[in-house]
Amino acid sequence: MIRRLTPLVVLLSACTSMPATPPTVEDRQPPPIERDPVAVADSRDEVDRSTAATATLLAAAHDAAELSDHDSAIAYLERAVRIEPRNAELWIALSDAHLAAANLAAATQHARKAIALAGADERLVRQAWLQLADIREAQGNLSEARAIRRRYQSMRG
């Protein structure tokens, strides 16, 4: 938990204009039909800034995890997910908090959610799969953990 969250927190709080973590505008696929023009604010800017908001919660979750207060860590991260439900990075952190709390089934499903949300973002895809590898290892499924790591560790994040 701590291992995984630390670089994340540093990264997020140090630089809010980093490549946005949720599926970015570039990842978005065209809709299946021609949509009517709707007044939708360009969410790119907003995504970056709400990431600044959730970064404070990631930091709080990190502090709670350091004290082995997993319930609080989960509560902080769920609050962050309520603000940015499609941010794969938050789901990875949440999966990690469940892993630390030994809720392996929940950890697995949260990691799967992160994989589904990561889409075509290679860094997130890699991060989410490596999270799943950690869970597999905790479950004693070493061969699957190894296989996932072999596949994704070489990928550039």
Binding site: Q29, T54, I74, E78, Q109
Partner: protein, 768 residues
């Protein structure tokens, strides 16, 4: 013989005892017995009243909180929205923002004095912040120490779990009671409170004289202690026996407990009004109900109004009899002034204040009984009724009052319109709706009927109705998972199924027509029954039923092919669960209302974290969701003004138009709406003319967050009507994900002669 003699001599002896001695003896025995009886009765009374007092004093119903509004730069919220939210929470405008619970406007910014609140994870102190806005969003938040990245408003209290006899209360400690209220109570109701023994003959005499002079009952002779006893046993019969019992109990209470304890109990207990089936007990709840404020935040005139109400909550009901209540309030202000409890300037300014109760009594301490049913259901098994109504638990929930209010409002309004347009008897239609976060399943709004604040049959949770075509996405999902794609040809022609046992079945299309061969996407979008049954039987009814069970967690009740057309009854909340699988990108996320339960001291007892289970592969979900977006844009959802704004959804209608359904989702919310009649009779409404219209009205308040597709599947242009591959520039074209497009037939005349050019354009990011 000897025996008989003896008996005779004994009776002779008795006969010799003087009558008066016998009388004294009888008197003594009777007196002893009576004293014993009275003593026993007093012990009994003592037990009863002490137990009640102790039990009630700390019997604190669980308090239930809504989701707090999160404030951060970039949040979609303008100044007007935030101001409305603050007013909903009882914040008042104040140029000095001197006390917590106040705010002021400063150009295009709001300065807020936030209240302290003990949140789930930690307590937050009261503090001042300045929120500025930009383009309909929060621009920045500034606090005492500079920029604030994230802060939340205190959550609305949406109810409490009061005992079954319908009493609700907010328990206050002596410290939380304003001095003016405590002193005012004594001044108005019981001048001798600090001196009497629970009962005051002088008080009774004075009341008698005052009432005699006035020629009407102006003053009661009961002490506050007696009133408290009366309130405990909810008995208004005026009998001598009851009165004596009341006096005895008051004396016992006074002997056993301190004056402060008794006064605090009174403040927490006294009946102040009725809101539907919910009785308003205590000044804490009274302040919230009448003024949407905390007791400590009340002004002088407001305290005086509450003091007026005690005497007769229905006679001095400030909503129904404002003039009468105002007059009594001013009399009370005069008493407070005379006794030196308020100074001259306070007296003058509060006398001129209007009665000031909140316009809509129900908005004071928002009250959402339908949502509370869901909370109760989730806590059942973990907490018994006694724990919920007495241990002061703090329950944090997912409801968003803003969404709840707008959904409820949209439903009431639209049903009224529909009945008028269709010349139906007013009030004949009923409806239910549930709105949840599409990724987490957390319920934001739950409406159980057209009257939101009335406890009653909760249709959202309990009305099991046939879902009609809402089931079709399960059929087509299974088909897609079995290898079909959105352009696969399917046949829409009459079909008769002959089971081994029972009658044969020949379903029909909605319009009685049939359309021959067409692409799968059109069969779903136009909700064609014949094509759906054919696809379903081809894919396998068992397999489809199995998929259904995976998606909602239970097997269907109907094992027959009519299941394929939605002859399966589900409650709206269950339909929400089904569609949550699609909206969340392939995860089963059962709708949930409770986030955590904390004890009185703020220590967490139970957490209710997100639960999710992957049920559908992401690329299959994406395919289905595109199909449901096309269903809105070109199919049965096309009458919606939001049909082409990036929402996915499906209408449903049960046999003979008894049930009208709509289930849909955008990028952030999933919603289900049902319209029908309680007696299950025909409404004449289809899914599109009934439930979809309600959804439109619901959506107009919060707008659409267009669907975003994740992943990198290639999209192929096909003609909607025929499923033939076509150029993007051709008419009636939709884009669908198809892994192997080489097998598709090409539409003559609108083919892909320039297919290469088309591909090159796509490589360079051109959309069309």
């Amino acid at each position: 013989m000897a025996k008989r003699k003896k008996r005779r001599s004994k009776s002779k002896q008795t006969a010799n005892t003087p009558w008066w001695r016998r009388l004294i003896k009888i008197g003594c025995y009777t007196g002893l017995l009576a004293s014993l009886g009275i003593l026993g009765y007093m012990v009994y009374l003592d037990r009863t009243i002490t137990n009640t007092f102790e039990g009630r004093r700390w019997s604190i119903p669980a308090q239930v909180f809504a989701q707090p509004l999160e404030l951060h730069a970039g949040a979609r919220l303008d100044r007007h929205d935030l101001q409305t939210e603050l007013e909903r929470l009882g914040y008042v405008q104040d140029a000095n923002i001197a006390t917590p619970g106040s705010f002021k406007r400063l150009g295009n910014a709001l300065q807020i004095h936030l209240r302290a609140f003990r949140f789930m994870e930690r307590a937050r102190d009261a503090q001042r912040i300045t929120v500025s806005f930009r383009n309909g969003h929060i621009g920045a938040i500034e606090g005492h120490h500079g920029d604030v990245a994230l802060i939340r408003l205190d959550p609305a209290t949406i109810g409490s779990f009061f005992p079954s006899h319908g009493e609700d209360r907010i328990i206050l400690t002596p410290k939380e009671v304003p001095q003016l209220l405590a002193e005012g109570l004594k001044a108005v109701e019981d001048r001798n409170f600090d001196r009497h023994v629970g009962f005051s003959p002088r008080g009774i005499a004075r009341a008698f004289i005052v009432n005699l002079r006035a020629g009407e009952r102006q003053q009661g002779g009961s002490t506050l202690t007696q009133q408290l006893v009366k309130s405990y046993y909810l008995d208004n019969r005026r009998t001598i026996e009851r009165k004596l019992k009341e006096v005895a109990m008051a004396v016992i209470l006074d002997a056993r407990f301190s004056k402060e304890d008794v006064l605090t109990a009174y403040i927490n207990e006294i009946f102040l009004g009725q809101n539907g089936s919910r009785a308003i007990h205590g000044f804490g709840l009274g302040a919230q109900f009448y003024f949407n404020k905390r007791l400590i935040e009340l002004d002088v005139d407001e305290i005086a109004t509450l003091l007026s109400i005690i005497r007769g909550p229905s006679y001095y009901n400030p909503f129904r009899h404002p003039a009468r209540t105002l007059e009594r309030r001013n009399r009370i202000l005069a008493i407070l002034h005379r006794d030196g409890l308020i100074d001259q300037s306070q007296y003058v300014s509060s006398r001129s204040a209007p009665i000031g109760v909140v316009a809509n009594p129900s908005s004071g301490g928002a009250y959402y009984p339908a949502f509370m049913d869901q909370v109760r259901a989730e806590l059942k098994g973990q907490y018994d009724a006694d724990a919920l109504s007495s241990q002061g638990l703090r329950i944090f929930t997912t409801i968003k009052p803003r969404t709840q209010e707008s959904v409820q409002g949209a439903i009431s309004l639209t049903l009224n319109q529909m009945e008028k347009e269709r010349r139906m008897q007013p009030g004949i239609l009923q409806a239910a709706a549930v709105v949840a976060d599409s990724q987490t399943g957390e319920i934001h709004a739950l409406v159980g009927g057209r009257k939101g604040r009335v406890d009653g049959f909760n249709r959202a949770l309990n009305a099991q109705r046939p879902v009609g075509s809402l089931i079709k996405p399960v059929v087509y999902l299974t088909a897609i998972e079995s290898g079909m794609h959105l352009a696969s040809p399917v046949t829409d022609e009459p079909i008769t199924l002959r089971p081994k046992f029972g009658e044969s079945w020949s379903p029909k299309n909605f319009d009685g027509e049939y359309r021959g061969e067409l692409p799968l996407i059109r069969a779903l979008a136009e909700s064609l029954n014949l094509a759906t049954v054919r696809v379903g039987m081809e894919v396998g009814l068992d397999l489809i039923q199995q998929r259904f069970a995976n998606l909602v967690g239970h097997k269907p009740a109907n094992p027959y092919p009519s299941f394929l057309l939605g002859a399966e009854s589900l409650a709206p909340i269950k339909v929400l669960e089904l569609y949550g699988n699609f909206a969340s990108g392939g995860f089963r996320t059962p709708p949930k209302a409770v986030i955590a339960v904390l004890d009185e001291t703020g220590r967490p007892i139970t957490h209710h974290p997100f639960t999710l289970q992957q049920t559908i592969e992401p690329h299959h979900t994406a395919t289905l969701n595109r199909a449901l977006e096309i269903t809105m844009a070109k199919g049965t959802g096309r009458s919606s003004p939001y049909a082409k704004h990036g929402v996915a959804g499906k209408t449903g209608t049960s046999n003979d138009n008894r049930d009208s359904w709509f289930a849909g989702f955008d990028n952030s919310r999933v919603s289900v709406v049902w319209v029908g009649r309680d007696n299950n009779e025909v409404t004449g409404l289809t899914g599109a003319s009934g439930a979809l219209r309600l959804w439109n009205a619901m959506t107009s308040a919060e707008g659409v967050d267009p669907l975003v597709y994740i992943g990198d599947t290639e999209l192929i242009e096909v003609e909607f009507a025929s499923g033939l591959r076509a150029q993007a520039s051709c008419a009636d074209v939709v884009r669908v994900p198809i892994a192997d497009a080489s097998s598709l037939r090409v539409k003559p005349g609108c083919g892909l002669a320039d297919g290469m050019g088309n591909r090159i354009r796509r490589w360079f990011g051109g959309r069309d």
